[in-house]
Symmetry: C2
Subunit: 389 residues, 2 copies
């Protein structure tokens, strides 16, 4: 990659994904196996059908643009990247932990926080036994993935239908060696949102066992009567739906801070992956204003202004955002972290070095290091440092 710039830049990724093998749930009893999340792609119809726990969801397959379509697009942001259009197919290591390292070395991605892909559907399961057994099997499989490289920080799947199950799997996952727990930005249907005291034992368990609480955006459980990830149709819909995905992560953070969970658990760390980062200083100011101006209605009272929890205990990953570097440099939020989203569509595979140089050339070395390397290391201090380029 040396031809793309003068220096090869390494970066840790606060947002990556594994792809589940098709036989992941083979050892589940048959009556449970068939209920776990499955996806069938129908290329001819251009649709993908996801089934989970007796529910079925259909969504259009992304249609990569042809080169002609792309070039005919009148507005092409300067930082366009032709090759990303082919998306997941072009990441040879997507399914293989060893091949993956080859991809990462080529891109300049060092260590990764790795979330599920198909496993995001787990939160649509309505049967406690099913989600409990499914998470157990998934965690047993993916801890073996994690052990293939000290650069892998795989997120444990947590069953959220019974708080006791969640606490038990957090404990078990920590024992296996997980350092990160994957949470949806909104709990499963029929469960209260994160500020409710029902979740308190979960935050306590994460803190006690030293697991980072990882919210990945776009993980709202799906109403089976609605459209998947589609809030708006028609004119402007694609951009509107993409923007909408960030708000769930912001809400989850607000819920945890406003309910006092981060106050009661000062060692609990939260990572919001793929939602951008510049929302952090904005949300901090907004929470402080609400906390102060509506002070008479605030419950509970916190030991510090809301912003201080966000600035110290909350981290966020972004991919391309120009403003994210300034959220650290000018606004002082040190927990801004880069992320690759490897091997997904919104990610940087194929143009990581170009993106890193666009983001960090001319940025003070300590800030560049903090966003690319340091913030991640603070969350996962066991991970070795990248080689000196």
């Amino acid at each position: 990659m040396s031809e793309t710039g003068p220096a090869f830049l390494w970066a840790n990724s606060g947002d990556s994904h594994y792809m589940e093998p098709p036989n992941l749930y083979d050892e589940l009893p048959e009556h449970l196996q068939e209920l776990m999340p499955k996806t069938v792609r129908d290329e001819e119809r251009g649709a993908e059908v996801i089934t989970v726990d007796g529910q079925s969801f259909e969504r259009p397959l992304p249609k990569p643009r042809t080169r002609e379509q792309w070039l005919s697009t009148a507005a092409r942001p300067k930082e366009q990247h032709l090759d990303e259009e082919e998306g997941e197919k072009r990441a040879p290591g997507a399914f293989d932990p060893q091949l993956r390292l080859v991809d990462l070395d080529g891109e300049g991605i060092w260590a990764e926080a790795i979330y599920p892909s198909l496993g995001t559907w787990t939160f649509n399961i309505r049967t406690p036994e099913l989600v409990r057994e499914g998470c157990r099997i998934s965690n047993d499989f993916f801890i073996a993935f994690q052990r293939q490289s000290p650069r892998y920080v795989v997120a444990a799947s947590i069953p959220l239908l019974e708080v006791g199950d969640a606490v038990a799997e957090i404990r078990r996952a920590a024992g296996l060696g997980f350092k990160l727990a994957f949470f949806p930005v909104r709990p499963p249907m029929q469960k209260p949102t994160w500020q409710h005291d029902e979740w308190d034992p979960v935050w306590a368990a994460l803190e006690e066992h030293g697991l980072v609480l990882g919210f990945h955006i776009g993980t709202e459980p799906v109403d089976p009567t609605g459209y998947i990830g589609v809030y708006h149709r028609g004119r402007g819909g694609a951009v509107l739906n993409y923007v909408e995905t960030t708000y769930g992560g912001q809400r989850a953070v607000t819920q945890l801070i406003a309910c006092g969970a981060l106050d009661r658990h000062p060692d609990l760390r939260v990572l919001v992956s793929e939602g951008g980062a510049t929302w952090g200083p904005f949300l901090a100011d907004r929470m402080d204003e609400g906390y102060r101006q509506h002070g008479a209605a605030v419950r509970p009272t916190l030991s510090k202004p809301p912003s201080e929890y966000l600035y110290t205990q909350v981290y966020a990953s972004f991919q391309h955002d120009r403003s994210a570097v300034q959220a650290n440099l000018a606004m002082g939020w040190k927990n801004v972290m880069w992320g690759s989203d490897y091997p997904h569509y919104e990610g940087t595979f194929g143009h990581t070095q170009k993106t890193l140089h666009e983001l960090f050339d001319g940025v003070p070395a300590d800030v560049s290091h903090r966003i690319r390397i340091g913030a991640f290391q603070e969350l996962f201090p066991h991970v070795p440092a990248p080689p000196t380029p």
Copy 2:
């Protein structure tokens, strides 16, 4: 106010309010009069009942904290302001355009974009005739308010149940001398959101007649079966509900940009009032990423990346946010504008000079001037400059 700091700072406000007189709708025919928004405060029960067009909504009255309650609050952000707790009652000029100037002079607020208070309920009206006649009477009354000082930029009320009525009232309001039109962040119930082509004649009319499109946050029409402005109850609810109010403004901007309205109407200017400002650079980056990465699904194609419309045609006002100054200085969004929210509860009445000095002391003079004065002047060039202090 000279005892609070070395220099008296003037600032224009991108977010202020008028208070409607109780007899505003007296000249409406009786059968319409009784359907216009009314509010009755029941101090004993600590509740306020709003009635509009046969619908009735109740919400708790804000309970000002006693000094003892305030002092017992463990976490008090440094920039706390005791006096704001008494809220609206302490602004003597709230109901009187001449007394108001005395308040403004004392605070250092020069010119103001002035929105309705009770009039925000207009968007819950379901009868076209009612909203059309109500807006007409309100605009006739408040243009007289505006004429009492060149510092007043009052927002015209626009009937939105029939696009033809909206276009007609925009034209009439411009003829009366209005320079700003008040829009809710979400259209009335049963109407499509702003990206829909049904609204295209409205954007064309605003551009043609030189009216700024003013979205004031917290103006989502209320579902009569739900709670007013209450998204969350219980633990953390006050902060959560306050934070939630900002997203409507962000969505409205995304809708206008994504559907191409700002592309087709390059002279249309949008002001988002009271929703903070640091979301701007964040949303710009997020829209660009969605536009680029989901390019195959984007309709319509725009002449420029989405961020460029936001950076040039969209303005936003904030009150206290520390990060908002950096959104201009470090992130380059020149359309950040200060706002007082006079005479409302979240505003700066009683501590405006303190707030302005906290925000702008040490900030380069051109940036301070742009946020306090210049961005507003760009939207409303007819307004005279503040006196040299």
